[in-house]
């Protein structure tokens, strides 16, 4: 079996599949008696990527495998093939998606704590229908809230190989170094997108929930005692569940 036959099968399979194909799945397309080594399939993929250079298409590896896609340089004329505009996503949806992507696994309540507003259930439903987000379990707390995580489909859609390829998340400046930060007029510094110690982050979130409750209680005290303040008048504190 010649190298060019292997490469032709790989090329045709990638183009026919309509979805990303992992190398081992391509390998299994070959008849049992002529099945090439995985290394040969990988070599064919590499050779294809070279073949595609300077052409209208390119080979790209995403989370679920390899796919052939239109090269950026010609994407504009090609996009005219379709009349309808691509779907636009609301900020609320994108922020929710970002929280799931960077903080997974995460519950809806935890998303709401960080965003400061309720999450519209339609948003979660849309994310699930698009198969970008799925429920991977339940947090073992009262109510057993669903734990949300992103899917490989999410990574594929955004052309990513893994979560590590997500844009770097801005660093949280330490409140305790407030004075120092002021002196230097501190700017937001880029930090690693992935916190190696996910557990710490979870803990911080739990602490935060507690503090929000404290604040609510504090509000009631202030509401009773505070001297006339236009702000207090117009915004009577309300209990929130």
């Amino acid at each position: 079996m010649s190298d060019s036959y292997v490469k032709n099968v790989v090329e045709a399979a990638l183009l026919a599949a309509g979805r990303p194909l992992p190398a081992n799945e391509i390998r299994e397309l070959f008849d049992e008696f002529e099945r090439p080594e995985l290394a040969r399939v990988e070599a064919a993929l590499a050779a294809l990527a070279v073949d595609f250079e300077g052409r209208g298409i390119e080979l790209r590896e995403v989370a679920s495998g390899f796919r052939v896609q239109v090269r950026d340089a010609v994407a504009m004329p090609v996009s005219r093939l379709w009349q309808e505009r691509p779907p636009k996503y609301s900020r609320a949806l994108l922020e929710t998606l970002a929280l799931v992507a960077y903080r997974q696994p995460i519950t809806r309540g935890e998303i709401e704590d960080i965003r400061g507003v309720q999450v519209n259930p339609n948003i979660i439903r849309t994310l699930q229908e698009r198969e970008w987000v799925r429920v991977i379990g339940h947090r073992d707390v009262p109510g057993r809230p669903e734990l949300l995580a992103t899917t490989r489909g999410f990574l594929d859609y955004f052309g990513l190989k893994s979560l590590d390829d997500l844009p770097t998340l801005a660093q949280l400046r330490d409140v305790e170094s407030l004075g120092v930060q002021l002196e230097f007029g501190g700017t937001m510094e880029a930090a690693q997108a992935q916190d190696p110690d996910g557990g710490t982050i979870e803990m911080v979130e739990v602490v935060e929930v507690v503090e929000v409750v404290d604040v609510v209680e504090g509000v009631e005290l202030v509401g009773g005692d505070a001297p006339a303040d236009p702000g207090d008048e117009t915004a009577p504190p309300r209990k929130v569940d």
Partner: protein, 310 residues
């Protein structure tokens, strides 16, 4: 939607908001914020910071602007960023005043105001009052700063707001990336053969043997399978030939065990009437003959089987 009854004070805020509308609509258009309030217009290079009182502000524009906020944290961030304030040192009194003005306006506009906005208003008021309290010592401990929690939440929200913008910028399918696809005109029918695990076959065999009570025969149960295999080999060997020398069936290199297996196989074949031992004369070499002319088996069958396995 009801037209709001605008008081002069509202009009001033509304004018301020209106000046921000384009900036909010397209972040790229946002000029570098300065410490003072941004002008809503530039005329002949002169900034105008006060909206003419009689200017009509379309309520729809206001509503779109106000509805653009993703919640109280988003609104607060907007107020802070608009004035280029450091998030770590928010002038709480001033920000609270501005925040409440927006809340008032939203209520005037009869926008559906989420409870979170009011909760934040209360939180701001509480922070403000705590900051007015006399401090125990000269040094203010950072962790005692009443703003600390708010600052932390604002920062936390802001980084995910930014992350959402970053994700929106990623090249994505449908909008920026298009899959290349070729037509497979005629799908060939591919027959996939079922997989069988050895254990499955052994269990099946055990069942059938138990049903047939084959274990009743001790001899059968002790039988070496290599004998069976050798029997098949010998029958094949005899294919298409009349006689085979008895001794030629043995291969010395197989050792004593192999020779024994072959010998038992021959005896078993003779017993089953599949083989005849022939001796032309006393002391003449023994020959082996199939008990019947063996049917020709297509050799191709065997060849393909072996090549498929290799």
């Amino acid at each position: 939607m009801n037209d709001p009854t605008q008081t002069p004070a509202d009009a001033a805020i509304a004018a301020e908001i209106l000046a921000e509308v384009p900036a909010a609509a397209g972040a790229d258009a946002l000029p570098k914020p300065e410490q003072h309030e941004m002008p809503f217009a530039m005329v002949d290079g002169e900034p105008f910071t006060v909206m003419p009182r009689d200017l009509y502000i379309p309520p729809q524009a206001l509503q779109v602007f106000l509805e653009a906020f993703e919640g109280p944290l988003d609104l607060l961030l907007y107020l802070i960023r608009r004035q280029n304030l450091d998030i770590l040192d928010i002038p709480i009194a001033e920000i609270t005043r501005q925040y409440l003005e927006y809340i008032d306006l939203m209520q005037d506009m009869e926008l559906e105001l989420a409870g979170e906005y009011l909760l934040m208003a209360a939180m701001l008021a509480e922070i403000k009052s705590r900051m007015l309290l006399p401090r125990p010592g000269a040094e203010l401990q950072e962790e005692d700063d009443p703003r600390a929690e708010l600052v932390r939440r604002l920062q936390e929200y802001e980084r995910f707001k930014k992350a959402a913008e970053d994700i929106d910028q990623l090249k994505r399918l449908e909008r920026d990336t298009f899959l290349a696809q070729a037509e497979l005109v005629e799908r060939k029918v591919v027959t996939v053969l079922p997989e069988v695990a050895l254990k499955e076959m052994l269990l099946a065999f055990k069942d059938v043997i138990q049903r047939a009570a084959m274990f009743a025969s001790h001899q059968v149960s002790r039988e070496r399978l290599s004998v069976r295999q050798r029997m098949s080999e010998i029958i094949e060997r005899l294919q298409g030939t009349e006689f085979v020398g008895f001794s030629s069936l043995f291969r010395v290199e197989e050792g004593r065990m192999g020779v024994t297996v072959t010998f038992i196989a021959i005896l078993e074949l003779v017993r089953e009437g599949l083989l005849e031992l022939v001796q032309a004369d006393t002391f003449a070499p023994l020959h082996v003959r199939g008990a019947q002319p063996l049917a020709a088996v297509p050799a191709a069958n065997d060849d393909s089987a072996e090549s498929a396995a290799s």
